[in-house]
Structures are given as C-alpha cells and as structure tokens.
Symmetry: C2
Subunit: 316 residues, 2 copies
C-alpha cells in the first residue's frame, strides 16, 4: 500500500534536502539530527504538503513547506521527550536518553531556526503568519494536555482542543500552506484547510484509539501509554461516563494493577465505546475525503483520499 | 543613570504590547508569561532595537522587532532553565521549579510562535531570514557550551564562538534588524551590525568577568556560578594557562572546597588575568562605540554609546 512508503512523491529529494538543512557544524547537534534522519518516521506531514501541492499542479516553495512542517514536528518530538518521558519514540531510544535533556531541547531550538530559514526562502511572509498560528496552537495544545493531567479536569471539548492543537494544526498548515503558496482561490484553499483539519483529527483519534485498543505486535509499542502518563483520551472519557467507579479507580492507579488494561478494553468492547470510537474516526475520514470535492481529479487527490482512508484500515 | 531604567524609549508602550502578545487562553501558559512580565529584566535587547531605530529617525515595525528580540531571549531563558539548573533567574524562582520542565519548555515554544507572528507582521521576509540566522547561531552557541563541558575541551576561539552565538547574535539581530526595516544604506546597516556584535561580546565578557570577580552584593547572585556548572570562561581559560595545576584542580572539583573561589580571584588579580579581562572588555566597548561613527549625531546614538560605556562602569 502506497501510504506505507517513506514518501512516494519526490522522496529522495526530500531526504537529501532534509539532510542538507539539518547540517550543523556543532557535533552534538549533528549527532541528534543524524539520529532523526536515521529514525525516519512516516514523513506524514511533508507528504501532506507535497500531495496538496501536486493536487494543485505543483506550487513554488513546496519543498521548503514540506521540510518546514517536518522540522517543526521533529522539534516538537525533541521537546516532547522530556514532557512525555516516552520510553520508545519512533522505535529508537529517545534522543534525550543518549544526550541529556539539555541538548535535546536546544537541538529542537536549532530545528526551529531552520524552520524560520525555510519559511523565509519561500519569500512569502503570509506563510510565516500561517506557521505562527499553527505553532501557537501546537504549543497551547501540548500545555493544555499537561494542564488537564495536573488539574484532572477533562471534557470532550477540551480533548478536541488538545488534539486539534497538538496534531491537526500543523497538518492543516501543511495542506493550507500549499494552497497559500499556489495563490489558489479561497474555495480551494478552504478545501485543503478542511482536509488537513479533519485528517489531523482522524489521525490523532485513531492513534489514541489504538493506544488502548490496539495490538502491541502491530503497534510496535506497549498499549496503555496514555493511561500510564495520566492522559485521558476520548475513549477513556466515555468509559468514565459509562463505568465511573471502576474506570476512575484504574485511571487513578494508572493501570498499574495486573489486568487493568484488559479490563478497560473489555468494557470498551462490551459497552460500545470502542465501536463508537470507530464510528467517530470513520466520520472524520469521510469529512476529510468530502473536503477535497472542489479539487480537480488527479493522482495526488486520490492519494490524499487514500491517506485518509488508510486511517480506517489501521483499525482492522 | 539612564541605562538602568527599564526602558527609556516607548517604555510603557513596549510593556503594554508585550502583555498583549503574550496573552494565551491556556492558564498554565498565562501563569508563566505573567511571571516573565513581572520579573521584568533589563529589556536590553528591545532597547537596542528601539535605540537603533531612533538613531535612524524611526523605522516601520520597530515595536515588532523590539518585542521579537525580547521574546526570543525569554524563550531561551525558559529552555535554559533546564540546561543550567539555575538557582536564581532574574531574581525570581526559575519558572521550571514552580511548574515543571514540561510547561517551561512548551511555554518557551509558545513564545517562539509569537516571535514568528511578530516577524510576519512587519511584512518583511528578509527580517525572518535575519532572525533565522540569529536563532541558529543562538542554538549552536548554547549546544557548543554544553559540548565543551562534556568534552572538557576549551580554547579561546571556541569561547568566542560560544558567546557570539548565545549573546551577540541576537543583539546583532536587534540593531541590524532596525537597519533592515529602515532600508538604509549598507554602510549604515554595517555600522549597526558591528555595534550589535561588539556590544554583545562586551556584554557577555563583562558578565563572565563579574561571575568570577564581582561582588555578590552588587550582582544579586552568588559568584562562581559558571565554575560550579563546569563552564570555562575567558578568565578561567587564562588562569588555566598561567597556573595550570591549581586551576585545573579547582575546576575539576567545581570550586567545591572552601576558599577555592577566593584563591582563583587572588590569582587573577596577582597574575594580571583580571586586568587583562578589563582591557579586553574596554577594547570591545571602544569598538562598539567606534562602529557608530557613520550614523548622524542624535540622542539615540548617544544613548547607544552610553549603553556600551555602561558595561565598563559595571566593572568598577
């Protein structure tokens, strides 16, 4: 399946330019950046930018846009490793465990300076403003998630605010950014903005769903990570409403007792929360696909549709 | 003395705009930003930007520039609190002790998103490029400082590379940024660039000098902080050359034995390293003042000269 490839459009050029733009004469930075390149990742965000560009017939500055969204995402990962105390990040030892928090944060800042550079190279100050808004919502989403854990205050509205910020905002910047660079009509720009927004939400909803309901062998990481970090996602929120006592108990001890996770999984299956999640994700995917209607048919448009539909396939 | 005022040009407008631009609807971010506003600081970087603008007769976007340099600096402080494990930062408890590393790093990222926004509001993509370069050198300087500690590798060239990155680069962006916004001749732009560079180096040289040789009562913080953090500055580098054995011994135990610091101070006085530092700072200050020659006389030009000269007064 196409979408599982590292990057099907201009793949090698992207990786080459990435290496180039990450280069630093400071050895410690270079080590962390090489780690990032080697770790790879799915390059979902640059793919979104390049596909959106291709769906518009190609826009000037598409490569800078693709690199900028990937680097902003990578910087977040470097800054997030401290936050999440993540045990596995993209299947490799988290950078901060090797080099310490200090270099991790500062190398993230180095990446952000490269984002600034890439944006400047498009010559489009409006793109800088678009990224400013995305970066603001990203930081706010991440802090809000932390605040929710600290206050133990949760609601569906807040959950959506968090995932919109930490995931959908940057994906929206990837697709809407291509429209901006292409100077297309506000209708087409709106279409790509909506696609990025719905796709981003579908992506995070699916990620959060699998974090509880997935199979470790397919995920490549242990399930229940969110619960162990005290994060409430949509499905645990629903379980809290349906089975307040048992769910609260398990969440309070962060699923540390044997059988806690399988108990929650069983409740989600029996009570319908799991099915409701799948329905919710399906609706988002459909909204993402429907958003693309104003765009003329093209291979790239089909690839964007497939990218969204793949979120559903991952649930099976 | 003028330069000890919070900000003598457009001071209240700056503080008002700062408050406005820092506003976030996320409570945890708001708490950290309020802390930053309350802590104040000397606002040296925005002062440089506003004085450089005034020396050119006022340039469009000067306030955005002034806010952007201050916020980039503040973001560095938030990211640095983790790095330095600083006990006192701007005379208040470091933000991270109150709210944890997570919120500190992410609130720094929030500030950086506001920098992006401010830059975009000038409508000048060249300013974005100027900041990209400054931010890159800033991150590289900070990581290099960390790397030097880790490898215990020190040289005068590397010391200058570190302080150029972590301090002078952003001060240069403040003054050169004003020239860029004013579309002035390359001669005037070069003058303001040079001023920022030399002033920045003088500023950090003076800071590093006082960290060993200053009086705690005047500094408002304990002396010897750099040595305790394993950082080698120019004066300790000279002491290492002059008195290798005793200095290395003290540095290795990070001045933890009683009398270590006063011993180094005495050696610096007796062997001439202290006097040589003062001479070095004086030369930088003179270079900063001389750089301003191409600018027409004005109150602002005089204020920039006084700002540089004040670095010498602080040594007495």
């Amino acid at each position: 399946m196409k979408v599982e490839q590292p990057l099907d459009i201009a793949g090698s050029e992207f990786e080459l330019r990435l290496k180039e733009v990450l280069h630093s004469k400071v050895e410690f930075i270079q080590l962390i950046e090489e780690d990032l390149i080697a770790a790879g990742g799915k390059r979902i965000r640059p793919r979104l930018a390049l596909l959106a560009s291709a769906a518009l017939g190609g826009v000037p500055g598409e490569m800078e846009l693709a690199l900028a969204v990937e680097l902003l995402h990578s910087a977040t990962l470097l800054h997030d490793d401290l936050v999440d105390d993540a045990e596995v990040r993209r299947g490799r030892e988290a950078a901060f465990r090797k080099y310490g928090n200090a270099v991790s944060v500062l190398s993230g800042d180095y990446l952000l300076s490269r984002v600034l550079y890439l944006l400047s190279q498009t010559g489009r100050v409006e793109l800088v403003e678009l990224f400013a808004e995305a970066a603001k919502r990203l930081a706010e989403g991440e802090v809000l998630q932390f605040q929710a854990v600290a206050y133990q205050e949760y609601s569906e509205a807040q959950y959506y605010q968090i995932i919109e910020g930490k995931t959908a905002a940057l994906m929206t910047a990837a697709t809407e950014g291509a429209a901006l660079l292409g100077n297309v009509s506000s209708k087409l720009r709106g279409a790509l903005r909506e696609y990025g927004h719905h796709y981003g939400l579908a992506f995070q909803l699916r990620d959060d769903y699998l974090d509880l309901m997935g199979e470790e062998s397919r995920l490549g990481k242990p399930v229940g990570g969110d619960i162990r970090e005290g994060k409430i996602t949509l499905i645990t929120l629903w379980l809290l409403q349906q089975y307040p006592e048992v769910t609260r108990e398990i969440l309070l001890r962060r699923a540390s007792a044997p059988g806690d996770l399988s108990r929650l999984r069983r409740l989600a299956e029996e009570g319908g929360a799991a099915a409701r999640m799948i329905k919710t994700i399906k609706e988002r995917v459909e909204q993402a696909v429907a958003s693309l209607a104003p765009l003329a048919d093209s291979e790239a448009k089909t690839a964007l549709e497939e990218l969204a539909l793949a979120e559903l396939q991952r649930l099976q």
